[in-house]
């Protein structure tokens, strides 16, 4: 009975984690609004520069992040069900997706720069690099967090605080995914 009641009221991770996540998302929301504001100033330029983006990169990266989030969800389930061995492997899978995302990002940036499309080209490419760069920075922090989660979930018995750290770290990874899901249409598709 007690566990049922707890389940209804529970927030995943520590309450403090959400201070970080919501604060960070608020700043990203301001960043998205800034992008849309400058876009509205010069819609023709933004629309024409947007044509230069390769949507395949964006789409593959979206799939990679969605898959990684799914793996993280499975890992958290494994921790909760005390299936200790599965969790680190699932998290390693999520990290592999994150690394593949990073690899594609390097190729995509390289391709843009080799075509002389840099942050100095125009406002669209400025925001393209700033937004995707800030997101990528978060993804790299996320990879560090996932590494910590692998170390923790390898232990046979987790304390309550460790379980909530695992949940909090998982939520951070989902935030990285969620931000990309907003960013992707905003940069690649919004007309």
């Amino acid at each position: 009975m007690a566990t049922d009641a707890a389940r209804v009221r529970r927030t995943p991770g520590e309450a403090g984690t959400w201070v970080f996540i919501f604060g960070d998302m608020t700043v990203f929301a301001v960043l998205f609004a800034t992008y849309l504001y400058y876009r509205a100033e010069d819609p023709a330029l933004f629309a024409s520069s947007q044509q230069e983006l390769n949507q395949t990169f964006g789409a593959v990266n979206t799939l990679l992040l969605l898959l990684s989030s799914l793996l993280v969800v499975a890992a958290v389930r494994a921790v909760r069900d005390h299936r200790g061995v599965a969790a680190p492997r699932l998290i390693a899978g999520a990290m592999a997706c994150g690394l593949a995302f990073s690899g594609l990002k390097v190729v995509e940036y390289g391709e843009k720069i080799s075509h002389d499309q840099t942050p100095a080209t125009d406002d669209f490419f400025l925001y393209y690099f700033v937004l995707t760069g800030m997101h990528w920075f978060h993804l790299l922090i996320g990879l560090a967090v996932l590494t910590a989660l692998i170390v923790i979930t390898r232990k046979p018995n987790l304390t309550a605080r460790q379980v909530s750290f695992v949940e909090g770290g998982a939520c951070f990874w989902h935030m990285v995914d969620l931000l990309w899901i907003v960013l992707f249409p905003l940069l690649y598709f919004v007309r």
Binding site: E14, A15, G16, T17, V19, F20, G23, D24, V27, V30, L31, T34, Y38, P119, V130, M134
Partner: protein, 250 residues
Amino acid sequence: MGRKIELGMTWAGLVWVILFFIGMVPLANWIPLPSPSDTAAEVQAMYVDHTNSIRAGLALIFTGTIGYILFSAAIASQCRRIKGAPTALRYAQVGSIGACTLLIIVPIIIWFTAAYRPEVRSAESIQLLNDLGWIMFIVGFVPFVAWVWTVGLAILSDEDADPLFPRWAGYLCMLLGTLQIPPILLVFFQTGPFAWNGLFSWWIPATDFFTFFLVMLVLTLRAIRRTPAAAPEAPQAVPELAGAGAGTGR
């Protein structure tokens, strides 16, 4: 007596914040910030027309920075009391506090120089000093991030069931430290939200910095008042717990 001094050092942080606002807003009239896209002649005119109010405003902030040092030392001192907080975090705090202080006072000295004899110098040299001051002041986030993050990590490392600082404050510090990093973009821009007077280089990091200050002011005052004050309220516990009480008091 030691506790009173620590409380006073914490309040000195508020004195610094107040002097900062008086110096920046009514005196130097630098909020909103001078724009990096101003021409050399415009920058010179600002220093020539408001020489003494700029000097006076900066002098207040400069002197008030003593309060900044005391305040940050008071936080570091409380971090020592956190059960399980590694010593390395406190070393990082103490080291970065020194660097932070310099990154506040050195730009002010550069602005003092710009406001020293602006009418006889060339407009370009005034602009150079003005640029140098602002760029150093705003992009100098490196020790500030290290400071705020290590305060956050110290709070999060608390092993006590009833932590000295609330855990949410630890996560808040991690966020507030991270939000100081975007100003790195200011080196690329003279206009827009990433320029030194823009949303992401000035307004968000500045709000963020003063939020850290006010939150840590309240929480540090609370932490200082906590353990030692509890002992006299329970005199009946003194005989058997005298040894333990003396231990926690130190």
